[in-house]
Amino acid sequence: MQTIWNIDKIQEVLPQRPPFLFVDKVVEIDTVKGKVVCIKNVTINDYFFKGHFPRNPVMPGVIMIEALAQASIILFAVLKPEVASKHPDYLFGKVEAKFHRIVKPGDVLFLEVEKKKILSGGGIVSGRALVKDEIAVSSQITFGVKPKKSRL
């Protein structure tokens, strides 16, 4: 599997940092379709398995949504580099999701996101998280992109 963006490049774009960074690498970028595919390697070292659940590690659904949202930021940055380079804030607007399969340590999660509409101020994407060829989550995410306000 070819690495198109490594973790350094990902951290130039995403504001999230470990242990809350859920994209390990980007393996596909299609600017024509407006699609990216990223990978998250799920391991027992992920911090959330400590409590979710003791002796029964299951990746939380909300974390999978977060992973898809982070992949969406990468898609946004690919399509609107002039906006993303200013490191704006990314905000959730609306999430619709269906969960199909549980995800456990050892699984390789493929995060596929495709644009429905991307503007400078936000976007709507459809996303799927897959393990092998099985869909774990399918979702539609609406997000906003706002210039960073100066903080005190």
């Binding site: 607007g93 429905k116 509409k117 936000g122 976007g123 709507i124 609406t142 906003g144």
Partner: protein, 86 residues
């Protein structure tokens, strides 16, 4: 010509219904001239959803530069009327 006008009245009704569903604002409160942000409290993400829903329904593309001009229902009708005439 007259027939086309009748059809557009129908489209206006459809758009109102669509926007009412997205914003959860009752159809009676969606006046043609009401300002989306000031009068109806529609935020930019709802506006994005509206545009995406209209594009999907009528199979058109609303260019990004037209979107800031969408202030009320009337401006949506105008954009759509222009697009559908082509």
């Amino acid at each position: 010509m007259a027939k086309k006008k009748v059809n557009f009245e129908k489209i206006k009704e459809e758009i109102k219904k669509l926007i009412s569903e997205i914003t959860e604002i009752p159809i009676d409160e969606l006046k043609d001239g009401a300002d989306f942000t000031k009068d109806l409290g529609i935020d930019s993400m709802m506006a994005l959803e509206m545009v995406a829903a209209i594009e999907k329904k009528y199979k058109i593309v609303v260019p990004e530069e037209d979107i800031p001009n969408i202030r009320n229902l009337k401006s949506i009708y105008e954009i759509l009327e222009k697009k559908l005439k082509k």
